[in-house]
Point group: C2
Chain length 216, copies 2
DNA sequence: CACATCTTTTGAACATGTTCAAATAAGGTC
DNA sequence: GACCTTATTTGAACATGTTCAAAAGATGTG
């Protein structure tokens, strides 16, 4: 029966994510997950080949949550700056339950060979979804043609920087990260709008060309 | 005898760094280090409380090497773009022997509670030294006054981004990273020089203000 | 020298992520 | 139903970073 297997797999995931939220990543051992799910350690590994794969699901869910919240919020505001703000705040909102363990998460999320690393093969689908959020943010606004195609990915990259900042942010409720978003979003919007001007345009074009060149 | 103890400690470090270079971070186990150094596992831990502390020394040495090479090189060139290029290339040069294991290194280098994390308390001294490289790079050039103080740290931050890019760079000899540096350095220099212009100046000022605000 | 204190060394022990061969259950075929 | 194949489960085993209490050595004091 396929559904039996699927059910067990779902239970492992559910248990794991719940424990990640309540105990943190490091303290949630594979043995504890298996015990809580009522199966053996080996069985847990039968469904998820590594602890990283479980984290990938976490990443997937948080992006989905971010996207839903951002989409809803964007129906209300039309300025590029505000839409970027919304997208980024929604992301941090979705991650907030994990901030206490953010450090332990990132240590498993950044190594290139990890399934969770946001730039890697395994997370391609999730990354696409995340970039899509910024594609939505850009859609409503007037963007110079030469920037339009690349902008969503650039915004996602900037957002990755924000997340890194957030991981290290020990201020109460990560207020500094919120301040960063509130300040950076309008600045980015301004830069985009200025990118039409004769002084700025060549600079931006050069940067875009470099990005393309370096991605090959 | 103090020097006996110091000698043992030095031997552990020397052995560890050598093995990091030849075997990589993951494959260099604490047991292997101890064995190679001719002491017991417990003794190794007596001198270095964790594997991370060994990596911190690696970080320290690589920055020292980077600084030496950059300083020497900068005597020849005076343009800001060229000096930034030199500083960054020197850094990547120093890191190159570890690229094969870059991934494993970064996984231990980024968690906030790690001794190695470049933004943390434990690595403050090394970070200061690293920022100093960019302070040198800036010293020779004409920089707008309102930018002068903050620029070195900003350049270091940009360099951290380059290092992250390098970690994921699988092109032959990390050519893409070199291309990135060669393209980004003149661009940064141009941006700095343009920051005097009436259109660009308020943008840059706003960004600097945000940085200050967010650091508090 | 005898003793006390501090430094260094040791090896066993622990927890954890991961692997694996073997056992068991399920499903399909004759 | 008997048999074969595939899916699932299990528990033991392994490697590794780290901890720790106890032993051994060094140093200073009377």
């Amino acid at each position: 029966m396929d559904s039996k297997s699927a059910h067990t797999k779902a239970k492992v995931l559910e248990t794991a994510l719940g424990m990640f939220r309540s105990k943190g990543f490091a303290k949630t051992t594979m043995r504890a997950i298996a015990a809580e799910a009522g199966i053996s350690l080996g069985s847990a590994y039968y469904y998820y080949a590594s602890k990283d794969e479980l984290v990938l699901e976490l990443y997937r869910e948080s992006v989905a949550e971010q996207r839903a919240a951002a989409s809803t919020g964007m129906r209300g505001s039309s300025g590029l700056g505000d839409r970027i703000k919304l997208a980024m705040h929604a992301g941090i909102d979705a991650l907030t339950p994990y901030h206490g363990f953010g450090g332990t998460f990132i240590s498993s999320a950044l190594p290139p060979q990890s399934a969770v690393n946001p730039f890697g093969e395994a997370s391609a689908e999730v990354r696409e979804n995340a970039i899509g959020i910024f594609r939505e943010a850009v859609e409503g606004a007037k963007i110079p043609a030469f920037l339009r195609a690349q902008l969503p990915e650039l915004l996602w990259l900037a957002y990755m920087g924000v997340v890194l900042f957030w991981v290290y942010d020990h201020s109460a409720n990560q207020r500094r990260t919120r301040t960063l978003i509130d300040g950076a979003a309008p600045l980015i919007a301004k830069l985009v709008s200025f990118s039409r001007l004769p002084v700025v345009k060549p600079l931006v074009e050069e940067a875009l060309a470099l990005k393309t060149k370096v991605q090959a």
